[in-house]
């Protein structure tokens, strides 16, 4: 550390500290001198925590796992931006060269009713898992692996589905949204299955159930500010929300028909 071509930064951090889920938290200020510009943001926090440990103080709790921008675990609101100031970059992939000597940084957790704080900068994003659990699946027959390309998929659909499937579920969209809405996340999950033939059988029930769960988790509703898209490390676009809205309306309108069909078949 400190070698190479990088230089060293002296920073001041204002960090949200909260001992547990249902207790009051507050900002605590830490000096972070001698931070190499070649460190990642999380490595910088590791260094701060090591120094805290040496002094016998409790380290700052923060979420992280892969540290390579693919798992969606990390996430800190840095100076008012989820994942910090670089577009399309997760907190773990953000490097200290994005900051300048003498910077004062405010570090906050994702703030939403649907993301209760576990500790300090760590939040519980189980709500997103529960949204997926209600509809983020397809019914596939077990048995042998189907032939590749046996089911034709239009190129445009495949592209849209791949774009939507890039969502890593980090929740930055919720954190960035002035309404703490999870619609970008839910829309991405709905879209990436709705664009394929395999996703069609549950397409309507998926839209209804995932949206109902999203509402039940206490998230807000979209007012089309577009902050989610700009904060998303994977560039998920707000157009997916429009697609979800359309799926939801179609599902609502055709609900009676599906229920009648289900009644017919159960009556024999």
């Amino acid at each position: 550390m400190g070698g190479g071509t990088g230089k060293n930064l002296n920073l001041k951090l204002h960090v949200w500290r909260q001992k547990g889920p249902n207790v009051e938290g507050q900002f605590v200020t830490y000096d972070a001198p001698g931070i190499s510009t070649e460190m990642s943001f999380l490595e910088m926090l590791d260094v701060v925590n090591e120094r805290l440990a040496e002094k016998g103080e409790e380290g700052i709790a923060f979420d992280h796992d892969c540290r390579e921008g693919i798992c969606g675990t990390c996430g800190i609101v840095i100076d008012g931006r989820p994942h910090g100031p670089r577009p399309r970059t997760t907190t773990c992939q953000l490097h200290m060269r994005s900051f300048a000597d003498g910077d004062e940084l405010v570090l906050e957790p994702w703030r939403a009713k649907g993301f209760p704080i576990v500790k300090d900068l760590m939040v519980d994003r189980g709500s997103l898992d529960r949204i997926i659990a209600t509809g983020g699946f397809i019914t596939a027959p077990t048995g042998t692996i189907p032939d590749a390309n046996a089911i034709p998929v239009p190129k445009e659909n495949a592209d849209i589905a791949m774009d939507a499937a890039a969502c890593i579920g980090c929740g930055a969209c919720v954190a960035a949204c002035p309404n703490a809405s999870a619609m970008l996340f839910t829309a991405a999950k709905i879209t990436h299955l709705a664009m394929f033939p395999q996703g069609q059988p549950e397409r309507s029930s998926r839209a209804l159930r995932m949206v109902a769960q999203m509402d039940a988790e206490g998230f807000g509703s979209c007012t089309n500010h577009g902050e989610c898209e700009s904060a998303c490390p994977k560039g998920i676009r707000v157009e997916f929300i429009a697609r979800m809205n359309a799926d939801f309306v179609v599902a609502q309108v055709t609900k009676g028909r599906r229920e009648a069909q289900a009644g017919d078949s159960s009556a024999g």
């Binding site: 405010v106 002035p178 703490a180 998230f219 807000g220 500010h225 902050e227 898209e229 929300i241 809205n245």
Partner: protein
């Protein structure tokens, strides 16, 4: 589910997207109205504006043997009521969704118009009430003449504070629509990456059209062009 429930979880009107659709559809109705309303009022620039506006008013009052105007009024009233209901309900939901706010929050994509929809909306509501009492029923108009919309418009706008209130309200309407029309397209599912920028520009263009048309009336009166 065999019970027919309109509100509550799992139902259309109980869901966030259902309420957004109500807001979008009623917003579209109101938008259609303000566009038509503005276009109709452009008749003040005809050679004989007093007669033109009176016969336009008589036409509206006599449409469908007098039923037409009430159908339109009740439709607009229902649209406004539903629009405000959905806006209020969603605003409460959105406030509750973030019980603890950020110490620092930096917006990149949101606009002044998008962040002030509730305020522009509430001020518009007060404007709509004033406007109805001013040029429709006349209670707050000192020189109101029955069935003489052109005269009422001219004498009304000759009062500077009234004109200023109209102009400011129209600027807020423009902001509300500049965001609202694009938002409506999103809500109704009419959005595609290729056309997003175009749709946003179209929203601003339509909003500007309504605002410039409407603002021209008080300005033309104050400038002495309409008298």
């Amino acid at each position: 589910m065999s019970t027919v429930a309109l509100a509550g979880p799992g139902t259309f009107l109980g869901s966030s997207i259902g309420k957004k659709v109500v807001m979008a559809v009623t917003g579209l109705m109101l938008f259609g109205f303000v566009l038509g309303h503005m276009a109709g009022n452009l008749q003040v620039y005809l050679p004989h504006p007093e007669e033109a506006m009176r016969s336009y008013a008589l036409f509206l009052h006599g449409f469908l043997h007098g039923a037409g105007i009430w159908v339109a009024r009740l439709g607009l009233l229902a649209a406004a009521a539903l629009h405000i209901w959905a806006a209020t309900s969603l605003t409460i939901q959105n406030k509750e969704a973030r019980p603890v706010g950020y110490r620092q929050w930096v917006g990149w994509e949101s606009t002044y118009a998008s962040r002030t929809m509730r305020w522009s909306g509430v001020i518009l509501l007060s404007f709509i009430i004033f406007h109805l009492l001013h040029l429709t029923t006349g209670q707050v108009h000192p020189q109101f003449e029955d069935m003489n919309p052109y005269r009422n418009l001219v004498t009304g706008f000759q009062q500077l504070p009234v004109s200023i209130f109209y102009i400011l309200s129209m600027v807020l309407l423009g902001m509300h629509l500049a965001h609202g029309v694009w938002s409506m397209l999103q809500t109704l599912g009419l959005s595609h990456p290729r056309y997003k920028k175009l749709a946003q520009k179209a929203a601003v263009a339509f909003a500007s059209l309504v605002v410039l048309g409407n603002i021209s009336f008080p300005i033309a009166v104050l400038a002495g062009i309409l008298k």
